[in-house]
Structure formats: structure tokens, C-alpha cells
């Protein structure tokens, strides 16, 4: 603190001289201007900490991404027989790891789609509504397009992670993600 500040105590908020101030203010004199100055400096310090926290968060995401890249592409797995599902039918399966629930939906005789079952809003399980052409998240009334997984109504803003499919020899195989990650 500069030396010159100590001999120039500022006036109290009501502007009256020191002798006419109440006893409590004489007992605890405050240099108002200096106090305000200090609090602003501390606010800048607080913002600095916040700024550093954001940098740490950004590099944390970089680390998470590096770990995710090292996992490689998920293995190809048979998830259902073609005859197992009627048109409009659906089936839950775990892919690529146990506990990662995905949902397979048969759109018509030849077309299948599969998505991660976690809603991209707050991870509630989504349910197929083939008659409406959508998937529904009942927690906050979110809706996704059944053909693309894109959000069409409600709070979700990101599409559902889409599982790549391959249909051959009467079986449906999952072969990684087309879009997003689970």
C-alpha cells in the first residue's frame, strides 16, 4: 500500500467531520474509499481464480478425449436376429460394454436403427414411439426423430448417439458409432 494513503483518511459516508461521528464510528474508523478499492482488487483476484479453473476444465476435457481415443473402435457384435423383431418393434441391448443400454428399432422390412438409450438432456432412458415416428424421454418430455435421432422437441439439444448397424445372414450387427458416443 502506498505511504501517501495513510495520511489522507477519507470522509465518512454522511460527510460530517470526524468529531461529530457517533462513538461506534470513532471506535472503528474505516477509510471508505480504501475499503472499496481493496474489495475491487479482491474481485479481480476472484475472477483470476475462476479464469484458472476454466483453463483446468478445458485441459481436463482434452485428457478425457485422449482417453476416449485410446479406447479404439468398439467391436462388432451380433445384437439380434432379423426375424426377432416385427416392423415397429424394438429391442434393448448392451453395447459396447455391459451397462451401456442401447435400443434397436425396426423401421420397416429392411431398415433398422439403433441409438444409445440415454437421453442427451439428463440421461433418462428414452422409449420408442414408432407410431409417432419418434423416441420419447418421459422425464422432461423430450422427443427425438426415430430415423435420425435428432432432437425435435423438449429440452434435449444434442442427437442421440447412433449405433452403426450391419444386416447380413439374417442377423443384425452393431459395428461402432455413426454419430456421438455413449
Amino acid at each position: 500500500m502506498p505511504e501517501s494513503d495513510f495520511d489522507t483518511i477519507s470522509a465518512s459516508p454522511d460527510g460530517t467531520p470526524h468529531e461529530r461521528q457517533p462513538a461506534w464510528r470513532k471506535d472503528f474508523p474505516i477509510d471508505w474509499s480504501l475499503d472499496e478499492y481493496r474489495s475491487r482488487r479482491e474481485f479481480v483476484e476472484f475472477l483470476m481464480s475462476t479464469s484458472a479453473a476454466f483453463v483446468a476444465g478445458q485441459f481436463w476435457i482434452v485428457l478425457l478425449q485422449a482417453f476416449r481415443s485410446n479406447e479404439g473402435k468398439p467391436a462388432v457384435e451380433s445384437i439380434a436376429d432379423v426375424d426377432e423383431l416385427p416392423v415397429g418393434g424394438s429391442k434393448l441391448f448392451e453395447y459396447p460394454h455391459p451397462g451401456n443400454f442401447c435400443i434397436l428399432i425396426r423401421l420397416n422390412e429392411t431398415e433398422f436403427v439403433a441409438y444409445g438409450q440415454k437421453c442427451t438432456h439428463l440421461s433418462c432412458p428414452v422409449l420408442p414411439r414408432p407410431e409417432a415416428g419418434r423416441l420419447h424421454c418421459p422425464c422432461h418430455n423430450g422427443w427425438f426423430d426415430i430415423k435420425s435421432g435428432a432432437p425435435v422437441a423438449g429440452p434435449p439439444r444434442r442427437p442421440l448417439p447412433r449405433v452403426g448397424l450391419d444386416v447380413r445372414n439374417g442377423k443384425v450387427y452393431a459395428n461402432g458409432y455413426v454419430e456421438g458416443v455413449i
Binding site: 472499496e36 478445458q58 476435457i61
Partner: protein
């Protein structure tokens, strides 16, 4: 950069200005963080590192401004 010869009111004004500037930068960092997290959760991989470096640069700018505030008091 000049750090001496300011009276108390001038220093307070300078700190107000720096505080406003730092606030704007931190809000930009918040925006950058939310965009990066959104991209990460969507499975996009090209954004995280450039965004982290941009955030680091803005932090260094903040650090410079903060050090100037400290120098004002000496």
C-alpha cells in the same frame, strides 16, 4: 507501462476498468467451456485442444492485467 504517480481515485478507476475487462474475458471463457463440453458430449474431437489453448491465452492475458493491478500498489 506506467504504475507510479496515480492517486487513490485514479487507481480505483484503473482497477474498475481492469475488472470490467477481466469479467468480459471470464465470460468468454465460460462460453468457450460450454461449447467445448457440448462438442465433447456430441463425440466431436477437433475442438477440445484449440479451445483449451485459447482459454490458456485468455488466462495469460488476465494474469498480465492482474499483475498490473498488483504493481499499482507497490
Amino acid at each position: 507501462m506506467k504504475t507510479k504517480g496515480f492517486d487513490r481515485n485514479q487507481r480505483a478507476t484503473i482497477i474498475e476498468g481492469i475488472g470490467a475487462f477481466v469479467t468480459i474475458i471470464v465470460v468468454m471463457q465460460l462460453w468457450l467451456f460450454t461449447v467445448t463440453m457440448e462438442a465433447f458430449l456430441s463425440g466431436q474431437s477437433g475442438i477440445a485442444l484449440p479451445a483449451a489453448l485459447a482459454s490458456l491465452v485468455t488466462f495469460l492475458l488476465n494474469l498480465g492485467l492482474y499483475l498490473y493491478v498488483r504493481a499499482l500498489e507497490r
